[in-house]
């Protein structure tokens, strides 16, 4: 009897997991290089799991591989939203190794540019195949109307993925949230500073609302 009960409970737990629990949604963090994607991913991961995801740097293309942090549980208003965060390399249509030669030796710059191109291709693949929603991160001190931003938002919309636009770096003097809102009025824009931790409550409210 005991064995039967245990077996029944075990089967019940497996079927519950298979059919009742929803898989965490994979939320891709996308944007151009140096928008602060990894800083944001680290901020979210540290706030809710205590661990970081990747290394942050002022040199473009520091993130050259997509990295996933699984089962990030965000609590809002007594409810828990569980997501996987996918930090992706900054997307661009061009990579010139000479951009890095001020910061490192030529061989390292060439290797960095080669890895960066692979990372961009990987990010595009994730976008087409493996994410359920997108957080699009922009540097609010920069002009948002660039071809990469226009194309990527178009690609995300064509796949009917839910998207939030994060106007990052609001701690900078040249920051303009309105410029981003005007560029992409069809999407909700949330201002923040991932580095300083400014406005993170609204960030988490929005993530829970859009992707929960």
């Amino acid at each position: 009897m005991g064995l039967f009960t245990e077996l029944k409970d075990s089967i019940s737990r497996v079927t519950d997991r298979l059919f009742s629990e929803q898989e965490p949604k994979r939320i891709g963090i996308y944007g151009p290089p140096n928008a602060g994607k990894t800083t944001l991913a680290n901020r979210i991961a540290r706030d809710w799991t205590g661990d970081a995801i990747g290394t942050e740097s002022h040199v473009p293309h520091e993130t050259r591989r997509a990295r996933r942090k699984e089962n990030v549980e965000i609590e809002r208003d007594g409810k828990t939203v569980t997501i996987d965060i996918v930090d992706t390399p900054g997307v661009t249509t061009k990579v010139d190794y000479e951009e890095f030669t001020d910061e490192m030796e030529e061989d390292d710059a060439i290797r960095r540019s080669r890895e960066a191109t692979e990372g961009v291709a990987e990010a595009m693949h994730w976008l087409r195949e493996d994410v359920d929603g997108v957080v699009y991160v922009l540097d609010s001190a920069e002009d948002p109307i660039t071809q990469v931003n226009t194309m990527l938002i178009g690609i995300i919309e064509s796949r009917d993925l839910p998207v939030l636009i994060f106007a990052n770096k609001i701690d900078l003097d040249d920051s303009s949230i309105k410029r981003i809102e005007d560029a992409f009025p069809q999407h909700k824009t949330i201002p923040l500073s991932a580095k300083e931790g400014d406005n993170m409550d609204e960030v988490y409210d929005s993530i829970a609302e859009y992707f929960g």
Binding site: T93, V95, D96, I145
Partner: protein
């Protein structure tokens, strides 16, 4: 696959000039995604500026980025500069809009060139101003 460039050597562009290929929507209509991407990148590798009358779909743009990345090589090819008009607020990009056949935003004049030869000077919803230089 049709060639975008002129096969006759006597009509080859002068080495001092920049060749511009204006490709009609009709020419692109019957091409597969990879044929379009190959035609664009072959032109760009030759130093040409490629102008597409009707542009690419978002999925084709995504694959163009991916293939471009795989072909970047230090000191040889740094990638592409690509420009289209940003989406206008008045255009309907909703799922319902697309189902109802409003695909205005799907066709957009697109300019593509080698990253080291084309520089965007100004861009807004109605104007793209670019500087094209010789290699």
């Amino acid at each position: 696959m049709p060639e975008a460039t002129n096969a006759d050597d006597s009509d080859s562009p002068d080495s001092d000039g920049v060749q511009i290929d204006l490709i009609s929507g009709e020419r692109m209509d019957n091409m597969a995604t990879m044929e379009k991407i190959r035609m664009i990148l072959d032109g760009v590798h030759d130093g040409n500026i490629v102008i597409l009358e009707e542009g690419l779909t978002p999925d084709e743009e995504s694959r163009l980025i991916e293939v471009t990345m795989s072909e970047i090589s230090p000191d040889e090819f740094n990638g592409i500069e690509i420009e289209t008009y940003p989406k206008s607020e008045t255009r309907d990009s909703s799922l319902l809009g697309r189902i109802m056949g409003n695909n205005e935003s799907e066709t957009k004049l697109t300019v593509i060139g080698p990253a080291n030869q084309i520089e965007t000077l100004h861009k807004d919803e109605t104007l793209i101003s670019a500087l094209v230089s010789r290699d």
